[in-house]
Subunit: 195 residues, 2 copies
């Protein structure tokens, strides 16, 4: 595969999406984030909100655990379908063009088939709390910290279930950056400079 | 503390030492690596080889474990003395001048007292094997892979024992780089550019 892909894995609230968009803009290539969700929605029939949440943040379970712990056969079935559609959509995109792909285990899916630069963006709890309140506002039923801890836990479990590797271990990425300390702009500059 | 410090944690064989030296050269500041070992040797009376190995690669044990598992009271005692001398030497250096410090948990020791850029350098097993054979040659009694796995394990245990945080987790560093994929020169350029 001759296309060059930048995959951006990120902690919720770290600005990874913004960094992905800015890098793509700087390099004149597409950024697949919302666009990817749209494609997956078209292919699978699932609603965008469902994909947004279930396609990255659902604790993976095998069918036995789903039945035993959640008594949720359809949940498990949907999740497997969604994973396969996501996987094939990402593989199709990578075949078609050089681009930035945000989230959805793209780093793992493209590991052995594409020319990838794999990036992980993270930031401190304080920085992320500040960011999500600014972007999404306050929630009545959960503090920003609770929301982040919940997302982190689900994201980690999902990634580990589907990739069998550790989410957030430096070794799994070519470059990992603290966007809170380095700043969004500097992260964009470094990543684009590596392309 | 007004001095600005770059701490470089690294996997054995990843070229982190070379990167540290080159970054310091580029920025016109000191690099503490062998120089740090020399200082610790002068203060503690321990031989340089002993510090080199025990000051980063000894699985930390509390006194009870040392007695129980290894029946080695002096080993535990030496290790504690060494950790304290290392810690104070690193704190003294950071008070004195802006510099690069390679290894020895400097990132953790300076966490709340200095203006630090914390870096982690890693590379794939293949890249590191190639590098250590080129630099240190082949060993009769252990394959390059065995040597690296042994160092990784000890280093991880040592770090976790003394810092109570996870070695190699992206979150613990401002920037983590795969020197095998990005190349030593590019790593130097990025780190020096962040200073």
């Amino acid at each position: 595969m001759k296309n060059r892909i930048i995959t951006i894995s990120r902690e919720f609230g770290s600005g990874g999406r913004t960094i992905g968009k800015e890098v793509a803009k700087k390099l004149g290539i597409s950024c697949y984030d919302e666009e990817l969700i749209k494609k997956i929605s078209e292919k699978s029939g699932f609603a965008k909100d469902y994909i947004e949440e279930q396609g990255e943040y659902t604790p993976g379970r095998n069918w036995f655990e789903s039945l035993l712990l959640e008594n949720d056969f359809y949940g498990h079935f949907n999740q497997s379908v969604l994973w396969n559609v996501q996987k094939n959509t990402i593989l199709d995109i990578a075949k078609k063009e050089s681009c930035v792909i945000v989230g959805r285990c793209a780093d793992y899916i493209l590991k052995d088939v594409a020319n990838c630069l794999t990036v992980f963006i993270h930031a401190s709890m304080e920085n992320r709390m500040e960011r999500i309140v600014k972007i999404y506002g306050e929630y009545e039923d959960a503090s920003p910290k609770k929301r982040l801890m919940d997302k982190d836990k689900k994201c980690k479990t999902y990634y580990q279930f589907y990739t069998d590797t550790e989410w957030g271990a430096a070794k799994n990425y070519h470059i990992a950056l603290d966007s809170g300390v380095l700043g969004i702009e500097k992260c964009v500059e470094i990543i684009a400079g590596l392309y």
